[in-house]
């Protein structure tokens, strides 16, 4: 024993323990995200609980745990927010008399008020009204939903047209404001044409709004009445139904289809219900665009600085200071970058741009407020050190013999750089790019100051001239997590969506990092022998 301790073996084991703690923590972290995120879209069975006090509760079981007195209890998502007020309820196991899984139960995802759980009682549409018989009801519902499609298409068209008109109006108004700002005469031809255009647009607008109202009325004629577990009736307009399904009747194949369907919705649809339902499209779009814009600043600056440090700089005080500067850039807290972005990009450059180019819109800022351009420039600065370090490492791993050979053959340094070193170092530099992009995709704090919002009305790119609207605010996956996890009024109902968003973000970031690590290891292996 004495020798065992003297030789320090227990300490070796103890250090082993620390490593296993680190590994456990990492694995656990990933496991929690995956376990909670991956099953969100899988249709859960609907359970109907008869309680001892005579109540009947219907819902999805979301959690089972023991309370303070060691009695197990169930958390049930009961939906039907307009009736129950709350989405969730806790039920003690001993209170339950019986459980059943009726096959006729429907889950209805709605535009508002969350899910509805219940049985179908009546279907009303201008063509048919059915009030009895499950089979006929179901087919009538299907038919009515089918008949509704053209009306829904019209609704979409109208809203699209209204959007376009709004933009046109805004443009006319801006031009008018510009002319008036220059103190142009009200009787000037240009102003008169603009005013005419404005009135014309407004009449068009009114017609469209009327059409919209009519459309809404027509849509309202299609509705269904559902019964909750305790017999209350609730009317759901078919136009409000996003999706409806009977989970207790679904087979494996149907469930997979449902899952895939939801997954597609996640990627292409807009969020609903203050971001807790629906898709993530604007957030994904914002994140990708942010990262791409960020690259435009960060990549060239980073690569060139890396080249400078490794190939051009003579070792000395300057290089030392540059190295310290690079390390500091990497170490400055991201929130400080955000503050810098706010002070320099937004109020400094953005404010000046507004003064010069858009004085007629002041005091409403155009560029003098947070936007995707400023956010990406801020992130660009933040990720420069990642690229610098990767470039330096990549260039450093190329054996000096290659450089010397090239120079000896009469090539200039620039030629050596562009024809030999850069192509050879490209996988390493790519690694830097990917790592920088991964860092940018996950960074949230500076964005909160420089223009991210919880719900952006329009994307930074659209079909309206000039197509790129870099001054617009944007949505971001990371901020989405913060927003719905912490700012949402109904945190419990938002949790599934937070986990899904987290899973998506982690998948994006980790897959980028894995590619980067793979590339780097390959690069290292390639020159491992030549390096000696």
């Amino acid at each position: 024993m004495k020798k065992f301790v003297r030789r320090g073996e227990p300490f070796v084991w103890a250090t082993g323990m620390t490593l296993s703690i680190i590994i456990t923590m990492t694995v656990l972290l990933l496991y929690v995200v995956i376990a909670n995120g991956i099953g969100v879209f899988w249709p859960q069975k609907l359970v109907q609980l008869s309680l001892n006090d005579g109540r009947v509760v219907l819902g999805e079981i979301t959690k089972e745990e023991k309370d303070g007195n060691n009695v197990s209890r169930l958390q049930l998502k009961i939906g039907n927010r307009e009736i129950n007020g709350l989405d969730f309820t806790w039920i003690s196991e001993p209170d339950i008399r019986s459980r059943s899984y009726p096959a006729d139960l429907y889950v209805i995802e709605r535009q508002e008020n969350g899910n509805f759980y219940g049985t179908l009682a009546e279907v009303h549409s201008p063509e048919i009204t059915v009030a009895e018989g499950q089979g006929t009801l179901v087919s009538a519902l299907g038919k009515a939903r089918h008949n509704l499609q053209p009306l829904l298409m019209t609704k979409q068209q109208i809203s699209r047209k209204i959007g376009a008109l709004n933009l046109a109006l805004e443009k006319v108004n801006q031009k008018l404001a510009g002319y008036r700002y220059q103190h142009m005469d009200e009787k000037d031809k240009r102003i008169i044409t603009l005013v005419d255009a404005e009135t014309k647009l407004k009449t068009q607008f009114a017609t469209l709004v009327d059409g919209g109202k009519q459309n809404t009325e027509e849509l309202a004629a299609y509705y269904a009445i559902f019964k909750t577990a305790d017999g209350k009736e609730s009317t759901v307009r078919l136009a409000d139904m996003v999706r409806l399904y009977q989970p207790n009747r679904m087979g494996l194949f149907a469930k997979i289809r449902h899952y895939a369907d939801k997954l597609v919705e996640l990627f292409i649809a807009d969020p609903r219900e203050s971001n807790t339902e629906g898709g993530l499209f604007p957030a994904i779009f914002g994140t990708v665009m942010l990262v791409l814009l960020m690259s435009l600043l960060s990549f060239p600056l980073g690569v060139i600085t890396g080249i400078y440090l490794r190939e051009y700089a003579h070792p000395g005080v300057t290089v030392k200071i540059v190295r310290i500067a690079v390390n500091n850039l990497a170490g400055i807290p991201s929130i400080v970058y955000g503050i810098f972005g706010l002070g320099f990009f937004i109020y400094g450059i953005g404010g000046a741009l507004d003064q010069f180019f858009f004085p007629e819109r002041l005091p409403t800022p155009t560029f003098g407020t947070g936007g995707i351009l400023w956010a990406s420039l801020t992130l660009g600065l933040l990720t420069v050190p990642v690229v610098i370090v990767a470039t330096e490492e990549a260039l450093g791993s190329i054996p000096p013999s290659i450089r010397e050979g090239s120079l000896a053959l009469g090539a200039t340094r620039f030629q050596t750089l562009t024809r030999l070193l850069l192509p050879m170092a490209s996988p390493g530099i790519m690694t830097g790019f990917i790592l920088a992009m991964a860092r940018a995709a996950g960074e949230v704090a500076p964005l909160m100051i420089t223009g991210v919002v919880k719900l952006a009305p329009s994307l930074p790119i659209d079909g309206q001239f000039p197509y790129f609207h870099l001054n617009r605010k944007f949505m971001h996956l990371g901020f989405h997590i913060y927003d719905i996890g912490f700012q949402s009024p109904n945190v419990e109902a938002a949790k599934p969506m937070v986990y899904v968003t987290t899973l998506l973000l982690i998948l994006i970031v980790l897959s980028m990092c894995s590619v980067a690590i793979y590339l780097r290891n390959k690069m290292r292996a390639r020159y491992a022998i030549a390096d000696v």
């Binding site: 227990p10 990492t26 500091n328 850039l329 600065l381 100051i449």
Partner: protein, 739 residues
């Protein structure tokens, strides 16, 4: 090869070289630009308030009487002047030309006996015949079609009180109109008694107005002859200063009674009270004495009895050389303006006790604008002087930002961060100390957790494990490094925090059970160590065998916890903490933060430590092993000391990261700026503070600049840490470059 081609190639080479060098230097520029910008935004906070002598105009001859009061609008364009004859004259501030002139309606034709100003726009005028007028002066900006601004001055008489039966018995009179329509009139009579009259107008739901009158007399013996009175803006508190240095305070909240709350000696050596005034907000009383001292007093809860509040001297302001004759207060901040009998004007910020400026020449009367941006005074040669006051950040000074400050409503000087409050007249409390404290607290707990794990983990990975595992452990650490902090923040706040709250005691038990179990395993495993094959088989795989020990230990802790908890703490550990230890348990606390920040910094410390250890020349290790040292002895005596500067650098870089981490602390602490070292509650860090407050901070305002100051402090902190670490690492690189 032709010459032209060569020239072109060389030129390109040169251009590229210059360009690349410029870009390289850009990085230095970036760092300093960031620093310069945030410091530049911060600087105005600490610049002293500026006062610029804007105008001097001769008083128009149309003003015949002795001027008694003077005032100016917030744009500095129009001014008013009230003279002894009861005439109010509005003048153009730039030319001195009369805009309008009017006579204030008293009861009859009479001269002004006493005039008192409050809220910088109301005047109480006591006429010789003892009638009393309350007037309000207003400046309305008007915009014409061109958008040009003109100021339209006007005044209105709010109320006129008729003359008393015995006018010669009245010494002084003060009136106030409260927000709920109560006129309070205080009369000081020549026999040193006071009469208090309230006129309360109530409007019922049918819009019928009823007026009730209340009258109370104060006839008790006062400590001395009353020389001056002060009444707060809504007529709720009355202060009387006596000619032997005493101040008496009454509470006037009740209509039909007065309550004396305090009698205290406000000056030393019975120095008579020359004038009293109230600071904006009405909580602090400014006492000006005959000898020129200026002090502020406010009610503080007595130490013995929490329910009783007693007046206490809080701040001492710059003294005058002569008796203080009038005290005015800003309507925007806690700035106090005072003029002495010698005519010298002082401006002081009460809370920070900063003396803002002195206007040395002699003036008769002075006034300040509503927005506290212009000061006007009349000298004895009948010249009007106007100054522009530039004091955008009165609340911020080195003392309020970093020192203990005694704020209104507090029992003692404290470090407080409270940037906004519900009422307009409460001043922002902007001490950075609680934030710096919070930053340090969170970081230290996180370092306590992560440094041992990361460093020993790295030691194990680089020295003890087999090469095969080393290759697969590094990606795990890199995965950990790349998890976005918002994800970590979300998980520890919404997933881990409830778990830790529910099973806090299990965590405590695990701290004992796991090491115990470890010792047990060591004791059991020790006999097998004589077997060489066993040793070789295990070597490099120890951490895998530790995984089950960890899990079993954790499982045991969860199992044992309820029993132990009921045995030792009556079944409720948190209650015991609160009742017996006085520690409150918040769900979002430093244990959670330590985990969260730990996950953020462990990969950084781990990889830098690993690099440092791997850079040690293998010859050292080989020599040590060859001399018969065991693998642990080699690590402990040879490798760790050699790598210690690198490990130290890793620690300070990790520290720097933890200091600046925002999302984790933002999400997983309560963000309450308290100063308490307890591990069971939260804090607010500099970085989270910026994220929390910046949406509420208007551009260029005090809060905006203070948040930039937070950023500067963070920058400075990380700059020092990172530069230090880099210098250490540079040194190391040189040292081991030799081998």
């Amino acid at each position: 090869m032709d010459n032209k081609f060569l020239q072109r190639v060389r030129r390109k080479d040169k251009i590229a070289k210059t360009f690349i060098q410029v870009c390289g230097i850009m990085v230095i520029v970036c760092v300093f630009a960031i620093l310069a910008l945030i410091v530049k935004v911060t600087l105005p906070l600490l610049s002293p308030s500026k006062i610029t002598d804007a105008q001097k105009v001769a008083l128009s001859a149309q003003v015949s009487g002795t001027p008694l009061a003077i005032g100016i609008d917030s744009y500095g364009e129009a001014l008013h002047l009230i003279d002894q004859e009861g005439t109010i004259t509005f003048l153009d501030a730039r030319s001195g030309a009369v805009i309008t002139q009017a006579t204030i309606q008293g009861q009859g034709k009479s001269q002004i006996r006493q005039i008192e100003q409050y809220k910088n726009s109301f005047y109480n005028i006591l006429w010789q015949d003892s009638s009393l007028s309350m007037i309000e002066v207003r400046y309305q900006p008007k915009f014409d079609t061109e958008g040009k601004r003109t100021i339209e001055p006007s005044f209105r008489t709010i109320k006129l009180w008729p003359a008393l039966a015995e006018p010669e018995r009245l010494a002084q009179s003060y009136v106030r109109l409260s927000a709920d329509n109560r006129f309070s009139r205080i009369d000081l009579l020549t026999d040193n008694t006071l009469t208090i009259n309230h006129e309360v107008t109530t409007t019922d739901f049918l819009d019928n107005q009823t007026t009730e009158n209340f009258s109370v007399r104060i006839e008790e013996t006062l400590p001395g002859k009353v020389s001056t009175l002060a009444l707060d803006d809504s007529g709720l508190a009355l202060y009387a200063g006596t000619d032997n240095g005493y101040v008496v305070r009454w509470d006037l909240a009740d209509n039909d009674a007065v309550k004396k709350t305090d009698t205290f000696a406000a000056t030393e050596n019975s120095d008579p009270i020359a004038s009293l005034g109230l600071v904006f907000g009405g909580q602090s009383l400014v006492v000006g004495s005959k000898s020129g001292t200026v002090q502020t007093w406010m009610q503080v809860r007595a130490e013995a009895n929490n329910a009783i509040k007693k007046m206490q001297m809080i701040h001492v302001l710059e003294p005058h050389a002569a008796a203080v004759s009038t005290i005015l207060s800003s309507r925007r901040s806690k700035t106090v303006y005072s003029i002495s009998e010698a005519g010298i004007i002082h401006a002081d910020h009460m809370t920070s006790e900063n003396h803002l400026f002195t206007i040395p020449d002699a003036y008769q009367v002075f006034g300040i604008s509503q927005k506290d941006n212009a000061l006007i005074a009349l000298d004895s040669k009948r010249f009007i002087h106007i100054w522009q006051i530039d004091n955008p950040h009165p609340e911020a000074s080195l003392k309020t930002l970093f020192g203990k400050v005694w704020y209104e409503g507090y029992n003692k000087p404290e470090y407080v961060w409270q940037s906004s409050s519900q009422s307009d007249d409460a001043e922002p409390k902007l001490s950075l100390i609680p934030l710096i404290f919070g930053t340090m607290k969170g970081t230290l707990y996180a370092m306590l957790f992560s440094i041992p794990l990361a460093i020993f983990g790295a030691v194990y990975t680089s020295q003890f494990t087999s090469a095969k595992f080393r290759k697969s452990i590094k990606p795990i650490i890199e995965v950990m490094a790349s998890v976005p902090s918002v994800v970590i923040g979300f998980l520890i706040a919404l997933w881990l925090a409830p778990i830790v709250e529910r099973s806090l005691f299990s965590l405590v038990v695990a701290l004992f059970v796991v090491p115990l179990l470890f010792t047990l395993v060591m004791v059991c495993i020790q006999p097998f160590y004589r077997n060489r094959r066993f040793v070789n088989f295990l070597s490099g795989y120890e951490f895998l065998f530790m995984l089950p020990v960890l899990f079993i230990g954790g499982w045991l802790a969860v199992r044992l916890a309820p029993g132990l908890e009921s045995l030792l703490f009556h079944g409720n550990f948190k209650l015991w903490l609160y009742q017996d230890m006085g520690m409150r348990y918040d769900q979002r606390n430093c244990i959670i933060i330590a985990f969260g920040l730990g996950i953020c910094v462990i990969p950084i410390i781990f990889s830098i430590t690993e690099d440092a250890i791997s850079n040690i020349p293998p010859s050292l290790t080989a020599a040590s092993l060859a001399l018969g040292a065991s693998r642990w002895q080699t690590v402990w005596r040879v490798i760790l000391p050699s790598a210690s500067p690198g490990i130290f650098a890793a620690m300070i870089i990790g520290f720097g990261r933890a200091v600046g981490e925002t999302m984790v602390v933002l999400m997983a602490t309560g963000n309450t700026p308290i100063m308490d070292w307890s591990i069971f509650n939260g804090m607010r860090t500099l970085s989270a503070n910026i994220a929390v407050e910046i949406p509420e901070a208007p551009f260029g305002g005090t809060l905006y600049r203070v948040l930039f100051l937070c950023a500067t402090v963070l920058f400075a902190l990380t700059f020092v840490l990172n530069t230090g670490a880099e210098i250490i690492r540079e040194h190391l690189r040189k040292k081991y470059g030799r081998y």
